[in-house]
Amino acid sequence: MAENPALPAARAPSPLAALLRHARHVVGENPVTAMAFGLFFLLLLCALLGPWIAPHDPLASDTARALAPPSLSNPFGTDHLGRDILSRVIVATRLDLGIAICSVALVFVLGGLAGVAAGFFGGWTDRIVGRIADTIMAFPLFVLAMGIVAALGNTVTNIVIATAIVNFPLYARIARAEAAVRREAGYVQAARLTGNGEWRVLLGTILPNILPIMAVQMSLTMGYAILNAAGLSFIGLGIRPPMPEWGIMVAEGAAYIVSGEWWVALFPGLALMLAVFTFNLLGDGLRDIVDPQRRS
């Protein structure tokens, strides 16, 4: 057996396959996580195929049918311009998720790299990154986002940038802490002894060990990013009507709540809630997959 060249380590199951197996185990054991994955795929479907799924044109107004309550032809009712709310809710998914995904991806790269560098190199890198993060953290985050969008200009891109900026300290701090813990870990010292330069140790040894933790964080902050963007558009920043977006639709419906037309605000609000809920559950589930010891 010892001489058999077919046996050796090359046949090892890849880490990815092991992770997938573990993921299937966690999902199978935890129906809530399975549900979160189901909801996530539903949202993804709406985001990708929204315009084709929607039963009506989300922009077509019909003042004759304004503020019609939910019915068979308009399951979510119509708004003050007679537009179909169901169609608008579906089509809005792409924009809301798009903003959240773009901003989280942006901060994942920037905050993650800055934090890892700060934790690993220490010294002035650490001081500069820490000072930037502290300064951002000195503001109430939503208020800072308001200020940034107001100053940069009222566009969707600026909502993405503002959401990324206010999330920067969180990512930078987590990445910094994880990198700092590992900087002196035995296996990192061992990697140095095997002739890896500092950069190679950082990219080849430390980063792969931090990425899963950061991925969980990404899912958890997706929910916050969605809320942040919707909050900004609720107060009239970023997205201009008639573009369908959940936050602005709730804002439009707010005026009709006091007169009893609840459906105008309720359905986009529910969609928003469902999306945030999905990402929060998904984050908890991912945490279980990545680190089975840290179950909440």
Partner: protein
């Protein structure tokens, strides 16, 4: 003790400086013509030029910054185009409304979240634990403006228990003489129970909305911190020495669990001050949040800038208070300072 306070104040100074620099940068260095922002959308070219000269935008950046800081020290945040009054005055007049709402929301949140988190940790797996999990998951997922609207629909439109969501006090009632600026306290000081009841009716829904929002992170952290503290080795020692349930839960576990909860409180304040803006819009609350939103819609930038700065300074002061409290509980922090 005084030394501790002073050294904490020292650590807050860099944050304060950072905030001043950022608010300055937000108006001067970013793309577009700041004069246009400050002049508003309908200003004539002459007015824009006048504002540019008035703001010193034709001068080098350093001079502009020095002027900005000097104005700040004079308490000058510019003039609002919409109200025509100095921004400082507007904010000072509206701050008590926001503060009253935010603080009441916080008290509601802490009053529910901390006992709930403790009970959930003590009775792990019981119905109260499940309730805690439900509340925290739902609370994190609910957009605060949506909760507010739902509350208005149910308690005002359907049940009629609550007054119309239009500000702090019914316009038929006259405000009590202002002492603290908090209507609830001022009306009690004036002995006017009718106004007190009316003001309470108005503030209850928005404060509850804020409270539900802030509750989730606090309850979650209280539960986690209590669980961590209860499984700590020193709790095992206390149990092995026969200490009773109450001593262990309160004197040993809870005091230790309070430390991470206090840290979370800082984050919760950040959320609350932001959520305050949204809730004020939903309930037409005459605070600084709705002031800023009105100014935003009118592209009136000076009030927005003043608002951001005020919020940041308030937040720094709140964090300072939390730090001091932390030092009171944790002897290790006292020694470091």
């Amino acid at each position: 003790m005084l030394r501790t306070v002073l050294s904490r104040l020292g650590t807050a100074l860099p944050s304060l400086a950072g905030v001043v620099v950022i608010t300055f940068l937000l108006t001067r260095v970013l793309p577009g013509d700041p004069a246009l922002y400050f002049a508003g959308p309908v200003a004539s070219p002459e007015a824009i030029a006048a504002i540019r000269a008035q703001l010193g935008l034709d001068q080098p950046l350093w001079t502009q910054f020095a002027g900005y800081v000097a104005a700040l020290f004079r308490g000058d945040l510019g003039t609002s185009l919409t109200t025509g009054r100095p921004v400082v005055e507007d904010i000072a007049a509206r701050l008590p409304a926001s503060a009253e709402l935010t603080l009441l929301g916080l008290f509601i949140a802490v009053g529910i979240a901390v006992p709930l988190g403790i009970l959930a940790a003590l009775r792990q797996g019981s119905w109260i634990d499940h309730l805690c999990r439900l509340v925290t998951t739902a609370g994190v997922s609910l957009p605060v403006f949506f909760t507010g609207l739902l509350a208005v629909y149910v308690f005002y439109y359907l049940l009629g228990w609550s007054p119309a969501p239009l500000g702090r006090l019914d316009s038929f009632l006259s405000e009590p003489p202002a002492r603290t600026g908090f209507l609830l306290i001022d009306s009690l000081l004036a002995g006017d129970t009718e106004v007190f009841r009316a003001a309470l009716g108005q503030i209850l829904l928005p404060a509850l909305t804020l409270g539900i929002f802030a509750l989730a992170p606090l309850a979650r952290m209280t539960r986690a911190a209590m669980l961590a503290a209860l499984s700590a080795e020193f709790i095992r020692t206390a149990r092995a020495n026969g200490l009773g349930g109450r001593t262990i839960v309160f004197a040993y576990a809870f005091r230790n669990a309070m430390l991470p909860v206090l840290t979370t409180l800082g984050m919760v304040f950040s959320f609350l001050l932001g959520a305050n803006v949204l809730v004020e819009k939903v309930f037409a609350w005459p605070g600084i949040g709705s002031y800023a939103v009105e100014a935003l819609i009118a592209s009136d930038f000076a009030p927005v800038q003043g608002f951001v700065l005020t919020m940041a300074i308030l937040y720094i002061l709140l964090n300072l208070a939390i730090d001091l409290l932390y030092g009171l509980i944790d002897p290790r922090m006292r020694k470091v300072a």
